[in-house]
């Protein structure tokens, strides 16, 4: 790993009136890392992520994503990241091919690139026979894999995944994580939020947010050692129990 830093925040804060959703979080993410962003519901994960992807303005603090400032250079940030949300993010009434063409087109790929990369993607996911079916007919697991593949089709520097595996069966989740590893090996940094603690074990490093503050940040192995816990689940429960904020 080259130790190039792709996300860097310093006391990043977001307030909604009197409520401080994200309170002075500071962390760094290295290139090619799989960075797990954990926290209970309402801990401020999604708000923090929204600031990083440029759709929410921070109240104070600073942050750089892919080398661009989150206050002034959101346009450049948007070009250099991919995003997949917890809600299914493709158009159900468009076919697989049409979804690929649409998103590749939005990210400015040329027709040739769209053609070749789209073909490769469909072959890789074994969807040759389904490519002209509307996405709504696919099983959820396939949809999520497709959505992830499309999110990284334009080779972003960082891909943000907001609870990507919600509601997906364990086997498909495992396959999904294989795809994440492959992307990370290819140099794409993965920033992922999740509720599944077994998934937290797959991450290179994990941060745990409680009440808008990052209370722990290290590799899963070190965290387990530090909190004398057998699994990430125990670590998480130990920390999240201290939360005062309700859901």
């Amino acid at each position: 790993m080259t130790n190039e830093i792709v996300i860097k925040t310093d006391k990043l804060t977001k307030k909604f009136g009197d409520f401080t959703a994200v309170n002075e979080i500071s962390f760094e993410v290295n290139k090619g890392e799989i960075f797990g962003f954990l926290g209970a519901n309402g801990a401020g994960k999604t708000t923090a992520m929204k600031m990083l992807i440029g759709i929410s303005k921070p109240s104070s603090g600073s942050a750089e994503v892919a080398g661009f400032d989150v206050y002034k250079q959101t346009e450049q940030i948007k070009k250099n990241i991919g995003y997949m949300s917890q809600r299914f993010s493709l158009y159900e009434d468009l076919t697989i091919k049409e979804n690929i063409q649409l998103f590749a087109g939005i990210y400015g790929l040329t027709d040739k690139e769209i053609e070749s990369k789209g073909e490769a993607l469909i072959t890789k996911l074994n969807l040759q026979n389904e490519s002209n079916k509307v996405v709504g007919q696919l099983p959820l697991g396939w949809k999520q894999k497709l959505a992830f593949s499309i999110a990284i089709l334009h080779r972003p520097k960082i891909v943000f995944l907001d609870e990507p595996t919600g509601g997906v069966d364990p086997v498909t989740r495992r396959q999904f994580w294989d795809m994440i590893y492959e992307a990370a090996d290819g140099g794409i940094t993965v920033f992922v939020t999740t509720h599944y603690m077994d998934e937290a074990e797959y991450c290179s490093r994990v941060s745990i947010m409680v009440d808008g503050v990052i209370t722990a940040l290290d590799s899963p192995a070190n965290l387990k050692k530090q909190y004398v816990a057998g699994s990430m689940e125990e670590v998480f429960i130990m920390l999240a129990r201290k939360a005062k904020r309700g859901e």
């Binding site: 992807i53 759709i55 990241i81 995003y83 809600r87 299914f88 009434d93 087109g105 990210y107």
Partner: protein, 367 residues
């Protein structure tokens, strides 16, 4: 530019794939126009009327024949006494009774003053006055024919002319009204729903994270419905000219130009609604209740604005459809040019600008 094109293509996929909605979008104007143009009309044809003719002379026969030969009346001659008239009204057999005085012809020839009584069933006042008008104008016509033959001095002729719509065709009011309504329905409701749908499904978030600019997202939502609206305009105009027999007296280009202006106004209203709500259902209700009702009630399409209470007359000024209907009538029926409708065009243009400004402001707050 390529982004925009890709995105517009996607919108067309949405529209074309949902073929049920598409059928409604393209079929509704045609069905509505035919219903309003043919079935629901203020014209009264073949109304049952009764004649009580005790006199039974040449003059009464002439009047009755004249009434009969008009296409408005079906004549029932079976009545023999005035008691039967009320009975006929009560059981709803007739809408109008024409009663000649006894010795009609004699009185007419000698005293120059014969009486015909018209009794109408005014439970439906509009229909009653229409029927009475038809009947009395037919009788007047007969009278003037008599006067012509006799060359009597000191006759007063009342002449009626229905300007612009000599046959009093219902299509003349229904076509502009249907155009105003359909365009509002498609442009406003469909755009607001399709924008809000993206919010509801969560795809709007994906679009906001992408390099696509929000203004481009909105623009590419608007263009397909603009095109659908143009298709509808074409079908409405073709239908009203070739099927309903309506003329286009003024310039067709001016008519299309003011229509495009109105579509833009409706589209910007749709964008405004989409910034105000996050659910498709709410967007639809706002469009239907907030727009359709005012269009039907306050645009002058169904009820004349001049007869409304002052407060409603004032409110009717903020209904874009009111101004559009005035413009369509001016250009299509009266054959007026831009000089006659510049005020209305300015009002609609101004409304469009206001809607867009508020939407842009609200959109920025959201981000």
């Amino acid at each position: 530019m390529k982004q925009l094109f890709t995105f517009i293509r996607k919108e067309f996929h949405h529209i074309l794939r949902d073929y049920r909605t598409m059928m409604v979008l393209l079929g509704l104007p045609i069905v509505q126009l035919l219903i309003f143009g043919f079935a629901i009309t203020n014209e009264t044809r073949n109304s049952a009327i009764a004649v009580l003719d005790i006199s039974k002379d040449e003059a009464t026969q002439n009047v009755i024949t004249k009434l009969e030969s008009s296409r408005y009346f079906d004549i029932d001659r079976s009545l023999t006494s005035s008691q039967q008239i009320e009975q006929a009204f009560k059981n709803g057999r007739i809408k109008l009774a024409v009663i000649f005085q006894p010795n009609f012809q004699n009185e007419l020839m000698h005293s120059n003053n014969a009486q015909i009584q018209l009794i109408a069933d005014a439970t439906d006042p509009n229909q009653a006055s229409t029927l009475v008008n038809y009947a009395s104008s037919i009788i007047m016509e007969y009278q003037s024919e008599l006067n012509d033959q006799n060359k009597l001095p000191y006759t007063i002729n009342t002449e009626m002319r229905m300007l612009y719509n000599p046959e009093l065709k219902g299509a003349y009011t229904s076509v502009p009204g249907v155009m105003a309504m359909i365009l509002l329905l498609i442009s406003t409701m469909m755009t607001s729903i399709s924008i809000v749908k993206e919010k509801e499904l969560g795809t709007m978030e994906i679009l906001l994270v992408s390099p696509m600019k929000p203004a481009m997202v909105i623009l590419s939502k608007v263009i397909p419905y603009f095109i659908v609206s143009l298709v509808n305009i074409a079908s409405i105009l073709l239908l009203s000219v070739f099927v309903l027999g309506m003329p286009i007296q003024g310039s067709i280009f001016l008519l299309i130009a003011v229509t495009i202006l109105y579509i833009l106004c409706a589209l910007s209203l749709g964008i405004l609604i989409s910034t105000a709500t996050d659910s498709q259902l709410a967007a639809m209700l706002i469009s239907l209740l907030g727009l359709m009702l005012p269009v039907v009630m306050l645009s002058g399409y169904a009820f004349p604005i001049a007869n409304m209470p002052t407060i409603l007359q004032v409110i009717s000024n903020i209904v874009p459809a009111k101004w559009y209907i005035i413009m369509v009538k001016s250009v299509m029926i009266k054959g007026m040019g831009l000089a006659g409708i510049w005020k209305e065009s300015l009002i609609i243009g101004g409304m469009t600008a206001v809607f867009l400004l508020i939407s842009i402001k609200r959109f920025k707050i959201r981000l």
